[in-house]
C-alpha cells in the first residue's frame, strides 16, 4: 500500500492541485472586486449602487467562493515559503498552525459579514 502521507510526491500533490484550483477560481472572480474598487475610487459608483451589486445572492455566493479561494491560495503560498525558508521544524510548524488559524478565523468572520447583508 502506498504510504502517501510520508512521501514528497504524495500529499505534496494535494497542495499543488489546491493551489492551481484556487488560482483558477481567483482568475475568474478577482477582476470584479478589482474593478469595483477602481469605480469607487473614480467616483463613478455611490454606496447605494455598490450595495445593490454586492448583496445580490449570486454575488454573495461568488464572493464566498472568492474568499475561500483567496485564503486557501494565501495559506498554501505561505506554507511553500515557510517550507523553503524556515528550516527549524518547531518554528515552521508553529508558524504554519498560526497561519492556518488566522486564515480560518478570517474566513469565518468574512463569511458571517457577507451573509449578514
Amino acid at each position: 500500500m502506498k504510504e502517501d502521507y510520508l512521501g514528497a510526491a504524495g500529499n505534496g500533490f494535494n497542495d499543488w492541485l489546491w493551489q492551481r484550483a484556487s488560482a483558477v477560481i481567483l482568475l475568474l472572480t478577482l477582476p470584479f472586486p478589482f474593478i469595483l474598487v477602481l469605480c469607487l475610487l473614480g467616483g463613478c459608483l455611490d454606496q447605494a449602487e455598490f450595495l445593490n451589486l454586492v448583496v445580490h445572492p449570486f454575488a454573495k455566493a461568488a464572493h464566498s467562493l472568492l474568499l475561500f479561494a483567496m485564503l486557501t491560495h494565501a495559506y498554501l503560498g505561505l506554507k511553500l515559503i515557510m517550507e523553503d525558508y524556515v528550516p527549524a521544524l518547531a518554528l515552521r510548524l508553529s508558524l504554519l498552525l498560526a497561519t492556518l488559524a488566522v486564515a480560518l478565523g478570517a474566513g469565518a468572520w468574512a463569511l458571517a459579514m457577507i451573509w449578514s447583508w
Binding site: 492551481r20 472586486p33 469607487l40 454606496q47
Partner: protein, 123 residues
C-alpha cells in the same frame, strides 16, 4: 543545523528572466497576503452605514492608502498575469527555452507598464 550550503546558491547561479519572474511571483504573492486584511477592512467599512462608507472612502484617499493601493495593484497585476503563465506551463504550453524566456520578460514588462499606469492614476 548542519553547515551545508542551502540551495538556491545565489552567489553561483547567473540571474535570468525565468528566475526573476519566479522570485517576483513569490514576492508579489507575499505582498498580496497583506492585501487580504486590507480588503476585508475595506469591505466591512464600505458596506456599513453611510457615515462608515464616507470615512472609509476618505481614508482610502489618503496618501498612505493610495501608496498601498498602488503597491497591491501592481503586485496583483503581476501575480495574476504570471499566474496565467504558470498555469499554461502546467498544461505544457510554452515550455521551450525561448518561449520561457520571452514570456517571463513579457509578464515583467506588462506589470511594469501597469505599475506606471496605476501610479499615474493613483499617486
Amino acid at each position: 543545523m548542519t553547515e551545508r550550503p542551502l540551495s538556491p546558491r545565489l552567489s553561483i547561479y547567473r540571474w535570468h528572466a525565468q528566475a526573476v519572474a519566479s522570485i517576483v511571483h513569490r514576492a508579489s504573492g507575499l505582498l498580496l497576503v497583506v492585501a487580504i486584511p486590507f480588503y476585508l477592512c475595506l469591505l466591512s467599512g464600505l458596506t456599513g452605514d453611510a457615515a462608515s462608507f464616507e470615512s472609509t472612502m476618505s481614508a482610502l484617499q489618503s496618501p498612505l492608502s493610495r501608496l498601498l493601493v498602488w503597491l497591491i495593484g501592481a503586485a496583483l497585476v503581476y501575480h495574476f498575469t504570471n499566474g496565467i503563465r504558470f498555469l499554461c506551463l502546467d498544461m505544457g504550453l510554452g515550455e521551450s527555452r525561448e518561449m520561457l524566456r520571452m514570456s517571463a520578460k513579457a509578464m515583467l514588462a506588462i506589470a511594469g507598464v501597469a505599475a506606471v499606469v496605476l501610479a499615474a492614476v493613483l499617486l
